[in-house]
């Protein structure tokens, strides 16, 4: 068609659009709620990504695929564990699939890339797994909310406190060398050293280190009370195994990040993981009845004990569903959605206790200090041995003061001098 015809038809369509808008809005209730789920289904953290999707699907299946009378449509995209792909898929979900909001991602760098994108177009983005501290601290984006998630240093603050209470005074840390590792280590180091403990040495290694023997050799020769390990994915499996194979298990106690003792790691391990202590909001071995029911149902459906990834997306979906219910299903109103999510309390989550967000968009939890224990059937899981109630991402510090100190990095680990 020629240019004149084209312009004419476009203007007719535009006029029709103006008139029909309220009519369309009234019928929005009948259209499905489209949720864009981003998860790494291929690449380095593919195992976790798969469980993220399972956790999400598990929840929506339990509520019959509907929330507030509207059908829920999950549009799942693979971010390949890579930020560029995450960005590309986020664009696709928002601009082509027209989702109402985004949810998911696993690795911090993928989350940051997507967060940067939604900052410009205002699409709500919910991150149950991404733990980059700053997204709910110094670099807050108003439409990015950490429903049912956690910030990296939140739990290790508590772990550092517990470690000191145990009588540990000298600790070495070994961690993957990226921001998630820096933040977890930093959290532990800050609290531990402020109470009077000493960090003897910190080992940083690149992601996907096949051979930990060089580090283990050094650790074996140190006079330390415990070693803190922050390992994620395959590195965690290897670290735990190699630690045991070099005869260090039983010689030096291991405390770790929750990812290191997550089900996704320990379910393929044997006795090497027994006894490792970590801190988390979720402990699949907890005797809380709601948690137990969740674990049992999940295991029945997916033939494995749920990991952090499944649990977090499940709880995140639950949180969103409760918020959408409160809104009567009107997800198109982004501001209302964000306000409702931010202001409400999550009830009936698998944690067995109500959870709410702090003023910065980060949940406040009871942190369980948990130990890897053997079940009667021979499998291993995390059982709580102590609980810290209502732990904020800022620990016991005043938020404004805390945020004045830099983000944890290799250079800044919060270690108190002297």
């Amino acid at each position: 068609m020629d240019r004149r015809q084209f312009l004419k038809s476009t203007s007719v369509l535009a006029a029709a659009g103006l008139v029909s808008k309220p009519w369309i809005a009234a019928h929005a209730q009948a259209t499905p709620i489209k949720i864009g789920v981003l998860a790494p289904l291929t690449g380095v953290v593919a195992a976790g990504g798969r469980e993220m999707v399972e956790g999400t699907q598990f929840f929506f299946e339990q509520v019959g695929g509907q929330v507030a009378g509207r059908k829920v449509e999950l549009i799942i995209e693979d971010d390949a564990s890579v930020p560029d792909t995450a960005l590309q898929k986020a664009r696709k979900l928002v601009e082509q699939s027209n989702v109402h909001f985004l949810m998911g991602n696993l690795l911090a760098n993928t989350g940051l890339a997507v967060a940067n994108y939604v900052k410009d177009n205002g699409t709500p983005y919910f991150i149950p797994i991404i733990a980059a501290d700053d997204l709910t601290q110094r670099a807050r984006i108003k439409n990015v909310v950490r429903v049912a998630g956690y910030s990296a240093s939140a739990f290790t603050h508590a772990l550092g406190d517990w470690a000191y209470k145990q009588g540990y005074r000298k600790i070495a840390t070994i961690s993957q060398d990226y921001s998630f590792g820096h933040e977890q280590c930093g959290g532990l180091c800050q609290v531990f050293t402020e109470k009077g403990g000493e960090i003897v040495q910190q080992f940083w290694h690149p992601l996907n280190t096949a051979d930990f023997s060089p580090y283990l050799g050094q650790i074996a020769n140190m006079k330390i009370d415990a070693v803190f390990a922050m390992e994620n994915g395959a590195d965690a499996t290897r670290f735990i195994q190699q630690f045991a194979s070099f005869g260090l298990k039983g010689q030096i106690p291991v405390i770790s990040a929750m990812n290191t003792t997550d089900q996704s790691i320990i379910r393929t391990l044997g006795g090497e993981c027994e006894g490792i202590v970590s801190a988390a909001h979720f402990a699949e071995g907890s005797d809380n009845p709601v948690t137990q029911k969740f674990v049992k149902d999940y295991a029945a459906k997916y033939e494995k004990i749920p990991s952090l990834f499944g649990f977090s997306m499940y709880s995140g979906s639950m949180w969103l569903a409760q918020a959408i219910d409160k809104l009567g299903g009107k997800v198109e109103d982004r501001d209302a959605l964000l306000a409702t999510v931010g202001g409400m309390e999550l009830t009936n989550s698998p944690l067995g206790k109500a959870v709410k967000l702090d003023a910065y968009g980060n949940p406040i939890y009871d942190v369980a200090i948990r130990k890897v224990t053997k079940r009667p059937d021979g499998k291993f899981w995390n059982v709580p041995i102590e609980t810290y109630a209502n732990v904020s991402q800022f620990w016991t510090y005043d938020p404004e003061t805390y945020m004045k100190q830099p983000t944890y990095s290799r250079a800044f680990q919060g270690i108190k001098k002297g």
Partner: protein, 283 residues
């Protein structure tokens, strides 16, 4: 640099040698840079793992790994590579495509979790050696690497097949012209090279674990070994493995910042000044 780190470097070098020797045989004789070699390592590891777990026998797992990967190698050579014979770059890129497919299929079949090949009871635990407590299994890997080196040297220098392979590395046309069915030698070598990768996967899978990106990692190391050691030289592979193994271990201890440069730096320098590697032969 104490005994502990020396052993670490040596055992890693031994594993690298097993895998890279397969790669070098194929590169040396067939002049194919088999970028699917890492995927064969991973496939061997996974298959070996599954068989070992279900049968309870590491040895059976090893046999399964070798057979399965040799079969894959056979399919790759006879089913795909034969269409692009003689075109070096096409061969390379075709194997790259195969690597993508194998890696993705492994993800579908085994999922993304990390698996560890179970160590036989006899090799569990450790011994006191040179004043350090060292895992028996790693020593086993070291010994196996040395044995395979000896076996391959014997094969290459004491058997007719070995002589044919060495001759083919230098001048395949001459060998063909003397009436030898060079195609069969090629196929045999391809199978041997693949089998070594698969066996390496089983061995490595027990102390380094198996996971979706293990194939790319071991491929990169194999490339470095063969580039540094040189095409067509088994001793070159041994030297290259030792260099890369020790550089990697030492690098992790002394220069953790420079994880990649410690290997790639020397590799690039070497390629710039001695493109054929330390002991390589010109094509």
């Amino acid at each position: 640099m104490n005994a502990f780190q020396l052993l670490n470097g040596a055992t890693f070098a031994a594993l690298l040698f097993v895998v890279a020797s397969g790669f070098s045989l194929i590169f040396g004789l067939l002049r194919i840079v088999n970028l699917a070699h890492g995927a064969l390592y991973l496939a061997g590891g996974y298959v070996g793992f599954t068989v070992a777990v279900h049968s309870g026998s590491y040895v059976l797992g090893g046999a399964a790994a070798i057979l399965a990967v040799a079969a894959l190698g056979f399919a790759l050579d006879q089913g795909l590579l034969r269409f692009v014979r003689g075109h070096e770059l096409r061969e390379v890129l075709l194997t790259l495509g195969v690597a993508f497919v194998l890696n993705d299929m492994a993800l579908v079949i085994w999922g993304g979790d990390s698996f560890t090949v179970p160590i036989p009871d006899a090799l569990k635990g450790g011994v006191r050696i040179f004043g350090v407590f060292y895992p028996k299994y790693r020593l086993f890997v070291l010994v196996t690497g040395i044995l395979i080196f000896i076996a391959l040297m014997l094969l290459l220098h004491r058997t007719r097949l070995g002589a044919l392979i060495r001759a083919g590395v230098d001048d395949p046309e001459m060998v063909e012209a003397s009436g030898i069915n060079i195609r069969r030698v090629f196929l045999g070598t391809f199978l041997l090279g693949s089998a070594l990768a698969g066996f390496g996967g089983l061995m490595g899978g027990a102390f380094l674990s198996l996971y979706p990106s293990a194939d790319a990692e071991i491929l990169v190391f194999s490339l470095a070994v063969v580039i540094i050691g040189g095409r067509g030289s088994l001793v070159g592979v041994a030297i290259g493995s030792l260099l890369v193994g020790f550089l990697n271990t030492l690098g992790q201890v002394m220069f953790p910042e420079l994880a990649y440069f410690v290997i790639f730096g020397p590799m690039v320098c070497l390629l710039a000044f001695r493109p054929l590697g330390l002991l390589g032969r010109a094509t």
